[in-house]
């Protein structure tokens, strides 16, 4: 189209043409070379050619000048009825009236349905109708395509106009057409919209349109600003480009968790710490405690007196402009944060499941590998080559896998199961052993530590023993698991990864479980101020874990890189183990979740940790690692990770915090809840207080009858169970439906091939008719196909082809035997005629076969219908050109 874009003056067609419309149309036919370019964009871009500064300027005019020249300027070009201007300019045609000329069938369509699909369906159908159009008939095909396109486009625009602006934009964006075409549709829609309303409330609509335009611009600028704020976009791109989406998932998750922590820090700091600081700035550190530096590692000593831990928070109500009850603030901040975290996790998990699991089909493995697995985001030559290699290996493996499985004998299988059993036993035993050893270690430490205010430096350093051992186990034991994994031969890579993941989760859960048991049972009895002790323990775990993570990437990845490249090239450069790394950060986050009750500012440490970890891993990745050899299904792995984050880890942390606040007695000496039986009883006291005030009596009622009543929970559980059951049944029904639909698709396919065969036979039987009328037939059939019920299946179209063909032949036969063609041909337009013919054909299609094998039918009927069509088109053109002239009386 660009050859015309310098405005009308430089356009050769502009000078040649008398009526811009007709000439321009025909002069552009030669551009239509690509069967995909269904619509010659040249037309679309130039519907506003009379404007003096090209289409953009004119389109702008369409926006701003619509009071004077509402639509005459904008779209006479296609002669599209919706936008034609009445000569007297009092205007507006009722939006529906332009469709009156079309037969009512035209409006059957699924207007509310998915128009993108419809549009595309038509496109595809059109393309398959004219796979390789005969050049001799190109003009005819062209014409047919064009007129169909116009219809289609008008329908589309009409549907779009009925929608709200946001929906409109969404739909326009979703159209699978080029930008030029989208822009054209958009202009049409805008013009149509303004024309439809213009008549009634000029200023009001104007105003509302301006409003919606500026609102939209505002929305875009907000979106733009949000993009600027996005963290690490460039780094993400680089990683995705070099290592593919599965490694990128790790970084995305890391960033997501970082945001969790930032939110948690803001909430805790804002609602707990700031009020305390405002109330009382001084730290009541006892004089014999000083900052030694070791605190940074142990979190004990000096830190014990700061706002880091639970112990330093006050239980008073801060009297100021507003009474601020610290107890309530502490309780509600923590619980609201936990509930919000849970909700976010549940929602992202559910949406991820919906997207990635519910639809996933394990059966189509090679199809997936070939057509969907290529990562378009990879931009690094080395990575591309490696990917290609990996894909080749995977394809080969999947080819040989089947043969391999068949060859296995019973003894081999038994051996295999033996190995599975052994490695599962060993890894479960290892996990249990780790838990037990931590338990004894805690006891050992328990005996040595006494409950005094200050510890010597040595004593303080001794507290690092447990976190050190825990982190060491977390680092070393997974290596054993990977070793076991080498011996087992799982049939699919996914099973292997799941097995590995499950074992690692088991290990971490057992260690954390033992630790929590110790904190919940032994610590409260031993220490007078026990919550800060737990907080310290968690702090140490977080810090030591961080150190081990850094050491892990230094030694694990850096050293094996050095070994792989310099000493033992056989081992090769290490891969980035996504599963292990993800588990590490999930574990770290769990520590932070547990710690939030005992140490409200622990998220600060966590933020620093994740921030540094992000850069560290990035550097380590780019320098030491190669992309994973097997690219598993990254999206499914991501779902699994979110699920893991939720299920054992978040739920575990939540239950520990809940147990602490419901069951355990808070310390008598320190913290916001001193003197209470349990943390939760703070709400009871608050409700009692509220109940004294008669105006807020309902709060007490809700508390008594909803929060504290078993019946309420019993009933709601029952209802939820019933709902789940119903949904489950629905799912079963849907599954059956899917099976049925699949069967139907297969049957339709068979129908299609059967009909195609029939058609080919028919064509063979009377080749001379085919040659002459192929185009006509196709055209008619296409038109009727368009009117078909919108189901758009190809076989349906094929049926229409046959029907239309039969109709033609029927007509020919009638002609030969002296039956005149119906008289309405001259008055109705070509479309109606085609419809009538089709109906006739349907009535008589039983007779067809005897006709076709008879004498060659005469061609007059076709000639006549062609003439009728010609007439109709002439009238169309006349119609549009006169309107063009009338609306622009130059």
């Amino acid at each position: 189209m660009t050859s015309y874009s310098n405005g009308g003056v430089f356009n050769p067609a502009y000078h040649d043409s008398e009526t811009l419309e007709i000439d321009r149309r025909s002069s552009r036919k030669h551009q239509h070379t690509n069967p995909y370019a269904r619509v010659d964009p040249a037309q679309w871009g130039h519907n506003v050619e009379p404007g003096d500064n090209g289409e953009w300027g004119a389109a702008g005019d369409g926006w701003t000048r619509r009071e004077n020249v509402p639509m005459g300027l904008i779209s006479t070009r296609l002669g599209s009825p919706p936008l034609q201007q009445n000569p007297n300019n009092t205007s507006q045609i009722d939006p529906d009236s332009q469709y009156d000329r079309l037969p009512p069938v035209q409006l059957h369509s699924s207007i509310s349905g998915n128009m993108t699909m419809r549009w595309r369906g038509v496109t595809m159908r059109r393309m398959s109708m004219f796979p390789n159009a005969d050049p001799a008939h190109a003009a005819f095909t062209e014409d047919a395509i064009k007129s169909e396109m116009e219809n289609e486009e008008q329908n589309l625009i009409k549907e779009l106009v009925a929608l709200s602006t946001t929906e409109q934009i969404r739909k326009i964006r979703e159209l699978p057409v080029s930008f030029e075409e989208k822009k054209h549709v958009r202009t049409q829609v805008t013009a149509f919209k303004s024309s439809g309303q213009y008549h009634h409330f000029t200023s009001l609509t104007d105003f509302s349109q301006n409003m919606s335009l500026s609102m939209r611009r505002f929305g875009y600028s907000i979106k733009s600003a949000r993009q600027t704020l996005q963290l690490w976009q460039g780094i993400m791109k680089e990683i995705g480009g070099k290592f593919g989406s599965s490694v990128l998932n790790y970084f995305v998750l890391l960033k997501w968790l970082l945001l969790f922590n930032i939110f948690s820090f803001l909430v805790n700091f804002g609602f707990i710490t700031i009020p305390l600081l405002v109330y009382d700035l001084s730290l009541n550190v006892s004089p014999n405690v000083s900052f030694r530096g070791l605190e940074l590692l142990t979190g004990a000593g000096y830190f014990n007196y700061t706002i880091m831990y639970y112990g330093s928070y006050s239980n008073e109500t801060i009297r100021g402009l507003l009474d601020y009850d610290m107890q309530l603030a502490y309780f509600f901040t923590i619980s609201v944060y936990m509930v919000l975290c849970g909700l976010v996790l549940i929602f992202s998990m559910a949406s991820s499941f919906k997207k990635n699991y519910a639809l996933a089909d394990p059966a189509s493995n090679s199809a997936w590998q070939l057509l969907c697995s290529w990562d378009f985001s990879i931009t690094n030559e080395k990575a591309v080559n490696q990917r290609k290699n990996n894909l080749r290996i995977q394809l080969k493996e999947s080819l040989s896998e089947k043969a391999h499985r068949e060859r296995q004998t019973t003894s081999e299988q038994l051996k295999q199961y033996g190995i599975y059993f052994g490695s599962w036993l060993l890894s479960t035993g290892l996990a249990a052993g780790c838990g037990a050893s931590i338990f004894y270690l805690c006891h050992y430490e328990d005996e040595r530590v006494e409950d005094t205010e200050t510890w010597s430096a040595l004593k303080e350093a001794e507290t690092l023993l447990v976190p050190f051992v825990v982190s060491l186990m977390n680092m070393v034991i997974p290596l054993f698991f990977s070793l076991f994994n080498k011996f087992e031969q799982y049939s699919s890579q996914r099973k292997q990864i799941y097995a590995l993941l499950f074992r690692n989760v088991l290990l971490r859960i057992s260690i954390l479980g033992v630790l929590c048991y110790y904190w919940m049972n032994t610590v409260p009895q031993k220490f007078t101020c026990w919550e800060p002790m737990v907080g310290q323990a968690l702090y140490r775990l977080v810090i030591v874990d961080f150190i081990f993570l850094m050491l892990g990437s230094l030694f694990g990845e850096f050293l094996s890189n050095v070994i792989g490249t310099k000493i033992q090239p056989r081992l090769g450069v290490p891969e980035f183990d996504v599963a292990r790394n993800v588990l590490e950060i999930i574990y770290a986050q769990t520590l932070a979740w547990i710690g939030i009750y005992f140490s409200p500012l622990l998220p600060v440490i966590q933020i620093l940790k994740f921030f540094i970890l992000f850069y560290l891993k990035k550097v380590s990745l780019t320098h030491n690692c190669q992309p994973p050899r097997r690219s598993g299904r990254a999206a499914q792995m991501k779902t699994i990770f979110i699920f893991l984050l939720f299920f054992p880890f978040f739920v575990g942390a939540l239950s520990i915090v809940a147990y602490t606040s419901w069951r355990l007695t808070p310390s008598e000496q320190c913290g916001p809840f001193r003197g209470l039986n349990s943390t939760f009883s703070v709400t009871g006291e608050w409700i009692d207080h509220v109940n004294n005030n008669s105006s807020t009596h309902w709060v007490g009622w809700i508390y008594q009858n909803v929060i504290r009543s078993e019946i309420f929970y019993f009933l709601s559980t029952l209802i939820i169970l019933v709902i789940i059951y119903i949904f489950w049944q629905l799912i079963q029904g849907r599954k059956q439906l899917i099976v049925l639909l699949r069967r139907q698709i297969i049957n339709e396919g068979k129908d299609k091939s059967f009909l195609l065969e029939k058609l080919q036979n028919l064509q063979k039987s009377c080749p001379e008719v085919n040659k002459k009328h192929k185009k006509r037939t196709t055209h008619t059939s296409r038109r009727s196909a368009e009117r078909s019920s919108g189901s758009q299946s190809n076989s349906n179209a094929m049926v229409q082809v046959l029907l239309a063909r039969q109709q033609l032949e029927e007509e020919e036969r009638r002609r030969a035997s002296g039956v005149s063609v119906p008289s309405d041909i001259s008055t109705s337009d070509a479309v109606t005629q085609a419809m009538l013919a089709r109906q006739k054909a349907e009535r008589q299609d039983e007779n067809v076969y005897e006709i076709t094998d008879g004498h060659p039918p005469s061609l007059d009927a076709v000639a006549q219908s062609l003439a009728a069509r010609q007439r109709a088109e002439d009238r169309d053109e006349y119609w549009s050109t006169t309107h063009f002239n009338q609306s622009n009386p130059v």
């Binding site: 660009t2 070379t33 979106k223 997207k355 189509s364 997936w368 931009t379 396919g749």
Partner: protein
């Protein structure tokens, strides 16, 4: 900021924002990326819609595309002339479809076109062979190629016509959740 005003008019930017998945900033960034490919060809003023087309050789040399085995197909599918020569609009179109925001159906439609090497609206065996050769550097034997292609068609062809139509392809894409993240070029 004054610079922005001279490249596109406000209406142009509105149209771009309404028809692609990009924000104003991204559109300008993409414009500069486009212009950097051939600063002497692309003017800084697009308000009168100059007629500029960059040849495929330049488009294919972008770092985002230059290592992609399908770069030529991508450029062909999105260019107006079908030969990979692109105007700015085509360029924006291409990256809009390949952006993160584009919905699955749209992506599937264009992916189908990219894999349909012979433009016959079906992915047939020859298309699959071409894809496979592009993805594995011709290192598979002929038999293996044949087997893989047969397997693919066997798995994904719903209506048993021996080739993949757009519907078959979409059906498969709907069951391959990774597709959204892999058919994606970060720009």
């Amino acid at each position: 900021m004054g610079n922005k005003q001279t490249i596109f008019t406000a209406q142009q930017l509105d149209a771009y924002q309404d028809c692609t998945y990009f924000t104003r900033k991204e559109i300008l960034r993409l414009f500069y990326r486009y212009r950097d490919l051939a600063p002497q060809l692309v003017p800084l003023d697009y308000t009168n819609h100059p007629d500029v087309k960059l040849p495929y050789e330049l488009i294919g040399s972008m770092p985002e595309l230059k290592d992609n085995p399908f770069r030529q197909r991508i450029a062909e599918v999105f260019s107006e002339d079908g030969e990979g020569n692109m105007t700015l609009d085509n360029f924006l179109d291409m990256f809009s479809v390949l952006s993160e925001m584009a919905p699955r159906d749209l992506k599937a439609y264009y992916a189908f076109k990219i894999y349909d090497f012979n433009n016959d609206d079906f992915i047939c065996k020859s298309d699959l062979e071409k894809t496979l050769n592009k993805l594995t550097r011709n290192e598979l034997t002929e038999d293996e190629v044949k087997m893989v292609c047969e397997k693919v068609i066997d798995e994904a062809d719903l209506d048993n016509d021996g080739r993949l139509s757009l519907e078959d392809f979409q059906h498969m894409i709907n069951r391959a959740p990774d597709f959204l993240s892999t058919f994606h070029i970060r720009i």
